[in-house]
């Protein structure tokens, strides 16, 4: 109780000083600030339940790190938004404090969100922007390099139409927009970079069309369900991030009851340019948020990504580490979005 009292009385200047010290030597403790609750929201780019289960250890990790940085966190509340918009709005209004959101979402909601970190992840054995290369060099594996961007792929499924498109690509033919339009597509919500924006840009580059022009498309709420539909041959093409097939390889056969492997049955028919990785953003409008806390959160996640346990947790999003990020890095993303939007 007395600690809380101290914290409330400590002036901003003191706190700042504390923080600088903390950054220098994280273990040093002088005074702590008490925070009742810190809420973290994840976007549903994977199965929400998986996210909830996998991120459970994050609570304690974060509390621990934050304690070292001079913050006494009462409770860490983790929730998975059912849509990107829900997480975005929550961040923008300050009803959630920290969001694991893609760059695209960040850009849309930057009136209330501020990016702290960009995730890094292992590069892939394929990094070509030619679809055929990906199909020739199967399966795609992780490489040793850490990168801050990834690509989105258009993947054709085992349906008749999907196979037809794949064949065309693999025989070196150019796809036409008619080919594209005759297939049925699964896309993610419009703010998802790999699931919407970059594929849209790709369409624009190649055919001067956008996803809006496709006759048969459906939005799905997670890549898992897109794969499920692909497997069920309900859709012919889905758009996803480059190593999504690695993540869904098991499920492809086990849950979706396919005979062949995901590598045999699916083919890449399009590759987009690089997309900046997911962000960890905080809400500017949350009551508890101030510069010190932001810095502390930033440091805490950097620290967590260093630990074994932490690595495991963030691997759910294929994050392997973090780098500090600035808003300016997302200007390119803004341009992309403006372009997509102006196409509408």
């Amino acid at each position: 109780v007395s600690e809380e009292g101290n914290a409330d009385n400590s002036t901003e200047g003191e706190a700042e000083a504390n923080d600088k010290e903390n950054e220098a030597s994280a273990s040093e403790e002088e005074s702590t600030t008490a925070i009742d609750e810190l809420s973290i929201s994840f976007v549903p780019s994977r199965e929400p339940e998986e996210i909830i289960t996998a991120t459970e250890p994050l609570k304690d990790l974060l509390k621990e790190e934050m304690t070292n940085l001079g913050y006494d966190i009462g409770n860490v509340d983790i929730s998975v938004g059912t849509s990107y918009e829900a997480v975005g709005e929550a961040l923008s209004a300050g009803t959630t404090d920290i969001g694991f959101i893609p760059g695209g979402t960040y850009v849309l909601y930057d009136d209330g969100a501020e990016v702290l970190l960009t995730s890094t992840r292992a590069g892939l054995t394929n990094d070509s922007d030619n679809a055929k290369d990906w199909n020739d060099n199967k399966p795609t594996e992780a490489s040793d390099e850490q990168v801050t961007y990834y690509r989105a792929l258009m993947i054709a499924g085992p349906s008749e139409k999907g196979q037809e498109l794949a064949e065309k690509v693999n025989s070196g033919e150019e796809l036409t927009f008619e080919d594209m339009d005759s297939a049925s597509w699964a896309v993610m919500s419009t703010s998802s970079p790999a699931g919407y924006i970059y594929p849209a840009l790709w369409l624009k580059d190649h055919f001067d069309k956008t996803l809006m022009d496709l006759s048969n498309k459906v939005s799905v709420d997670s890549y898992g369900s897109a794969f499920a539909r692909l497997a069920a041959e309900q859709i012919d093409v889905m758009v996803t991030y480059a190593d999504a097939r690695r993540d869904n390889a098991d499920a492809w056969q086990a849950e979706n009851n396919r005979e062949g492997t995901i590598w045999d049955e699916t083919n890449v028919i399009g590759v987009t340019s690089g997309i900046y990785n997911d962000t960890i953003s905080v809400s500017k409008n949350a009551d508890i948020m101030d510069e010190d806390l932001k810095a502390a959160i930033q440091q805490a996640f950097l620290n967590i990504a260093e630990t074994e346990e932490g690595k495991e947790v963030i691997s759910i999003y294929n994050h392997e580490g973090y780098q500090k990020a600035t808003d300016a890095e997302y200007d390119k993303e803004r341009e992309a979005q403006e372009m997509v939007q102006s196409l509408n």
């Binding site: 898992g224 041959e233 309900q234 849950e255």
Partner: protein, 268 residues
């Protein structure tokens, strides 16, 4: 016979009207048929229908019966709480709106404006209310309560208005003859009449709100909706089965009870 035949030809002629109406309906119907494009129909559809059925009849019992926060039981309780509180909030909001839009209570223009407002409130999909409330409360059941409350207002108010508009005002006359003041007439003449009907409407809406709860899942507003929709999207039919069974059983139970109570309230 002459008189009779004359009478036959004197039959009121509304055939034309009926023909025109029927023609219009047929035309509209055919027009709306153009919305159906069966091309998208999947051949695998029946296979999926089958797996849905098998999933539902072989539910994930573990999920159905466990008592953790991810279990169906807990989620159902949370759903009930959301629907219950939401219904109450909706009812509280609906009562004044209903009086304001009852044309036998307030002037016609005001009633019309309120009616417009009610249409607007009803038209905004719950998804959007969800987003709006997330800005207030953050994700979770709290947002769900508020959303349910707001989407209930439209229907509650409409049914309340119906009740208000066919109030039995003859009681007023008898109360006047007893020597009652206006306040007393309202308190002892109107309130008892409306109370039973309002209550019955509210219970009915609670029943419906339980069903609506599935939609809340789409906006991170708690309850059983999100797990249900996630499970469906991921084709985990066993889970879908266990959630649906829980939901259906709950709703059927609530429906039985609500029918019984409403009958008692309205018919005595």
């Amino acid at each position: 016979m002459d008189v009779i035949e004359k009478k036959l030809y004197a039959a009121p002629k509304n055939k034309k009207y009926l023909l025109v109406m029927a023609g219009m309906i047929v035309v509209l119907f055919i027009w709306s048929l153009t919305a159906v494009n069966v091309e998208n129909m999947e051949e695998s559809g029946w296979a999926i229908a089958q797996s849905i059925l098998t999933g539902i009849v072989t539910p994930d019992l573990d999920l159905l019966l466990n008592v953790t926060r991810q279990g169906v039981l807990y989620l159902l309780v949370e759903t009930i709480a959301i629907a219950f509180l939401g219904t109450i909030i909706g009812a509280i909001l609906a009562v004044p709106l209903a009086f304001l839009s009852a044309s036998n209570v307030v002037p016609k223009p005001l009633a019309f404006l309120t009616r417009l407002l009610l249409i607007v409130i009803r038209t905004v999909p719950s998804l959007i209310y969800g987003l709006m409330f997330i800005r207030v409360t953050g994700p979770g059941p709290f947002a769900g309560v508020l959303t349910i409350g707001l989407i209930s207002v439209g229907m509650l108010a409409k049914l309340f208005v119906d009740a208000i508009e066919d109030l039995d005002t003859s009681i007023f006359e008898s109360m006047t003859s007893i020597g009652c003041t206006t306040f007393e007439k309202i308190r002892f003449g109107i309130v008892p009449q409306l109370f039973a009907i309002f209550l019955s409407v509210i219970i009915y809406r609670f029943d419906m709100n339980l069903r609506e709860a599935s939609i809340l899942g789409l906006v991170a507003a708690g309850g059983i909706g999100a797990p249900l929709i996630f499970a469906m999207n991921a084709y985990r039919w066993n889970e879908v089965g266990s959630i649906l069974i829980g939901l259906v059983v709950l709703i059927l139970m609530v429906e039985l009870y609500s029918n019984y109570t409403r009958n008692k309230l309205v018919r005595g």
